[in-house]
Subunit: 254 residues, 2 copies
């Protein structure tokens, strides 16, 4: 039995375009081409097409199918196992997506609240990404992956209130630190207040607080140009001043 494109196409329930495409990418070439240039398929091609469609229905890519059907020694079972794994991962992702969408829908008591939530979620993620981009390598090298990951996890688990607290705290530190700078005394009341607030700020990010780590971070503010630039932006010398205040606060001098 011989088939032209359309005969084979309707037999297999696919389009002629698909057959021509399969010819083009070389996964199913016609048995021969007749004198008018028509593609003529035989029984062998029907069988092969059957196989191709079988794998296609399983969601295997044509590239993979090509390997399966062209290389007779190819381990189809292994390929299927692998494919199964991919499908399972895909389903997990889908489940996550669905859960998120449902959560979002549930949270939509009026558009406003959701919009805030969106921004909030985004900002938390943004903050972490930003930090990772900027300081990720050094900080991870210094404190270890676990510490950083736990810190990031802590941020992601913050409630909106906590998040607002921590940002407010950062603002307060900046303000008080600026005032303390004017006194010039890192042991003074204002500077020590700033150091104390800085400790509270830190506990939002760190799982464990220790005076040593706190003092170490203060020193890093001075050593690392980017941290230093951040603190010195308004008043040069602020980074050093903060470090001095924290060293006095913790009683640890490096």
């Amino acid at each position: 039995m011989e088939y032209t494109v359309q005969k084979l196409a309707s037999l297999a329930g696919i389009s002629t375009r698909t057959l021509r495409y399969y010819d083009e990418i070389g996964i199913l070439k016609p048995a021969r081409i007749n004198s008018s240039g028509y593609r003529i398929y035989g029984q062998a091609e029907v069988d092969r097409l059957q196989q191709i469609l079988f794998y296609r229905e399983l969601g295997v890519s044509l590239d993979q199918i090509k390997e399966i059907v062209t290389d007779p020694s190819f381990d189809g079972a292994a390929a299927l196992m692998e494919h199964r794994q991919k499908l399972l991962e895909k389903r997990e992702q889908l489940d996550l997506l669905i859960a998120n969408v449902e959560k979002t829908i549930a949270m939509t008591e009026g558009r406003f609240k959701m919009s805030n939530k969106e921004k909030f979620e985004g900002f938390k993620k943004k903050m972490i990404d930003e930090n990772e981009k900027k300081y990720g390598k050094e900080v991870r090298a210094k404190y270890g992956d676990d510490v950083v990951n736990q810190s990031n996890a802590k941020v992601m688990n913050m409630s909106e209130e906590q998040y607002q607290e921590v940002t407010a705290l950062a603002e307060e530190i900046k303000t008080i630190l600026a005032a303390a700078m004017k006194t010039g005394n890192p042991a003074g009341e204002l500077a020590q207040k700033a150091a104390d607030l800085h400790k509270r700020w830190l506990t939002y990010y760190w799982k464990d607080y220790s005076k040593e780590a706190h003092a170490g971070l203060a020193q890093m503010y001075v050593d690392d140009e980017r941290f230093k630039a951040y603190y010195d932006k308004d008043q040069p010398g602020t980074a050093e001043f903060l470090r001095d205040a924290i060293e006095i606060y913790t009683g640890i001098k490096k």
Copy 2:
């Protein structure tokens, strides 16, 4: 705060190409373009990007996102509900796929068996498609949709053994019919054997057997050119001969 492409990109954890694409398709245009042609984004754009990425993570298409973020009156909740439905359907499909893949893997005790199975499944489907294409309209008009659908369902439910039996039976009918033709007697032993086998062959496709329907089908073999051509291929007059034999077998003359 103002951002160039790269700043915004690294802030959001996306590529600059993505930002340029979003500009191109108009879902996120920069606040302004500076004198050198650089894209400059502001706070409003950051917020909007946050929204876009939020929906993107939920798997919403950029087209949909565009509607959501450009039209403030757009009902985001409804869109999400719809999206959720789509996701659920997707998951169902995925589950089906996974089940099929697993079934196939389980059936793979050696490559050989699976390969046969594949072919077999394909052939059954092929047979039905072929029949539907060729005779579908007339047969459905003559016998009604239910009869045809039940017949197709019967084929799809055949075991491999049954399938092989039925094809073997068809072969046997052909052989015996050819021998019977030589006797020239439709009432003879060979011709009646052929008619009997034909009845058994029919019961593989028909839910109910009746002499009337059998005789009717035999007449159709003669009336329909395509059936006639099939039977007369080797010996002209075979279709008529078979009809005569079946009329005698069933005792029904039209």
